[in-house]
């Protein structure tokens, strides 16, 4: 039960029920589709990148509480970030969601509410789908990103 509460925190429900930046971004200059073949979840990530900075981003799609909240939190966390910073941030995030009982991650800010995912290995792909899709969008690959 305690693990469940860790996973399904209020912040996560808030972002699941009222996802931020959940719309098509008309001015986007990068976008990619993401797909989790395991559960059929699909989302699209849109990015506006100017002079190496993510000036705006959004996502659209349907998914579980974890993947939707993770996408929503990601869009909040990355607005205004330099694209050079994204890789390190994703690495830290990935480490957090795959490493049980890890040290705190102050550098991840609000994203830390997803730390509970590390106790649920079957859900790591839900938490990272938006991030994988974001990476694909930055590379402007036309191939849909998958969690595989």
């Amino acid at each position: 039960m305690s693990d469940l509460r860790e996973l399904y925190q209020d912040v996560i429900f808030d972002h699941y029920k009222k996802p931020r930046n959940c719309h098509v971004l008309d001015c986007a200059n990068h976008q990619a589709d993401g797909f989790n073949p395991l559960c059929g979840d699909q989302l699209t990530v849109y990015l506006k990148v100017e002079h190496g900075v993510i000036t705006d981003l959004s996502f659209k799609g349907s998914g579980c509480a974890i993947s939707t909240a993770s996408a929503s939190l990601m869009t909040e966390a990355l607005k205004g970030k330099k694209i050079d910073e994204v890789e390190d941030l994703f690495e830290d995030f990935h480490h957090m969601v795959t490493t049980p009982e890890d040290a705190p991650h102050p550098e991840l800010g609000k994203l830390e509410v997803l730390a509970g995912v590390s106790e649920f290995p079957a859900r790591v792909k839900c938490a990272t789908l938006a991030w994988h899709t974001l990476q694909a969008a930055l590379k402007n690959q036309n191939q849909p990103a998958t969690t595989e």
Binding site: M1, D3, L4, L7, Y8, D10, F13, K17, L38, C39, G40, D41, Q42, S62, G63, C64, A65, I66, F120, A122, R123, C126
Partner: protein, 420 residues
């Protein structure tokens, strides 16, 4: 004709019977997050009774040798057991003979074998293969592949909102270019039973052969291939309490005889020279290479186990569980059952408003309840109902009403967590 024995009203098994059956399955002693395992993912794969585990272990301890090759004692023993299992399979589905039982890896390989060895050489551009809208991907993709190879077309029989096979759609689509009908016997995503007796009769009246995907049905319905008169019947051992990696293609001998081999290699030949190879007789023509010997023997043990209890008894017990579960979950606010066919078995697919199946699965798992969440390898079914996935509880002979109660309590917890 539909499996008369399924219709016979039987006393449902007593709780004492079920308790005894449960003792046969060591894995049911497992705990998950400190809770007793409630295994309701039987449509994905079933658990294995002690007798199956022992048959495989005994084979490796006392018998292991290659089959159809050696003069030594173990090889003879292995061959005898391997072939005895084939005989058990033939009797279980009432095939005319063991030579109509081809060992394969599972239903998937069985269907691919028919697609490549039976359908492919016969299909011309514009010919048609008929399937239904509730097929598992493994009864869709092999046909798409053969259509691509030959220019044939795939036609899809519709299903109604209850998830029932629409016979009128089938009658409309069965035409002069139809070369094969390939249908599931029991839908893994919806639990619907397809009226395959009528389908086979009508198809045959137009001279069209029929393949039945029995991956789900084999453990829940009586299957008599001669009474059905189906041309091919495919199933996997692991869904009927047997090992993974072993399955069966039943085919009428006359059809199998006329088909070219599926794969080349050892055991499937009579003589080989570099000029010409003569193929072995049935069923060996389709069994190239060293097979899953232990798996075949394990499957034989699984069919012995099921046969001793009786499919009709198992079906009656599962019917009771399905009815009970259907009633109980219907009281959960926001829960919608997906698939309400009148003729249904062993599978309860559902959605919960505002809650993704994946989240349901995680929370249930925390209470020890194993279900499947997602598209169940039947994405067209999900599209038909406008869903990305469902949660699915599926029953087997060792499940109990108490386990259904645990499922229902856990689902209430899901709604609590998600409504806060």
């Amino acid at each position: 004709m539909r499996s008369e024995s399924n219709k016979v009203l039987r006393e449902a098994a007593t709780p004492a019977d079920v308790a005894r059956w449960r003792d046969d399955f060591p894995i049911l002693q497992e705990t998950i997050s400190g809770e007793p395992l409630v295994y309701l993912d039987n449509a994905a794969t079933t658990q294995k009774p002690q007798s199956v585990l022992a048959a495989e272990a005994d084979y490796y301890r006392h018998t292991n040798a290659n089959v159809h090759r050696g003069v030594h004692t173990l090889s003879q023993r292995a061959t005898d057991q391997y072939e005895a299992a084939r005989g058990k399979i033939a009797r279980f589905i009432n095939a005319a003979g063991s030579n109509e039982i081809i060992y394969v890896r599972g239903a998937t390989e069985a269907i691919n074998l028919v697609a490549q060895s039976f359908a492919r050489p016969r299909l011309k551009p514009g010919d048609e293969i008929l399937i239904s809208a509730m097929e598992h991907h493994s009864n869709i993709v092999p046909w798409q592949m053969v259509c691509e190879q030959t220019g044939a077309l795939l036609k899809v029989v519709t299903i109604n909102d209850a998830g029932e096979f629409e016979f009128e759609s089938f009658e409309r689509l069965l035409g002069p270019r139809t070369r094969l009908v390939a249908l599931t016997h029991l839908s893994n995503a919806l639990g619907s039973i397809v009226p395959i007796e009528r389908v086979i009769e009508l198809a045959h009246s137009s001279g069209v052969p029929v393949l039945i995907d029995g991956a789900q049905a084999i453990a829940h319905l009586t299957v008599d291939v001669r009474a059905l008169d189906c041309d091919f019947y495919a199933f996997s051992g692991h869904k009927i309490y047997g090992p993974t990696g072993i399955g069966v293609l039943y085919g009428k001998a006359a059809l199998l005889d006329a088909m070219p081999p599926y794969q080349g290699g050892g055991d499937m030949i009579r003589t080989v020279t570099f000029e010409k190879t003569e193929y072995n007789e049935l069923p060996y023509k389709f069994e190239a290479g060293t097979p899953n010997i232990a798996g075949a023997i394990g499957l034989g043990a699984a069919l012995d186990y099921v046969g001793a209890i009786g499919i009709a008894t198992i079906a009656a017990h599962e019917r009771d569980l399905l009815d009970y579960a259907t009633r109980e979950v219907s009281a959960i606010p926001g829960l919608t059952i997906v698939g309400s066919a009148r003729d249904k078995a062993s599978i309860l697919s559902f959605t919960l408003a505002g809650t993704h199946p994946h989240d349901i699965g995680t929370i249930l798992d925390h209470r020890g309840v194993a279900i499947r969440a997602g598209h169940h390898c039947a994405m067209p079914v999900m599209q038909r109902f406008g869903l990305s996935g469902t949660a699915r509880a599926s029953f087997a002979l060792y499940n109990t009403r108490a386990e259904v109660d645990t499922l229902v309590a856990a689902l209430h917890q899901v709604t609590e967590i998600f409504q806060r």
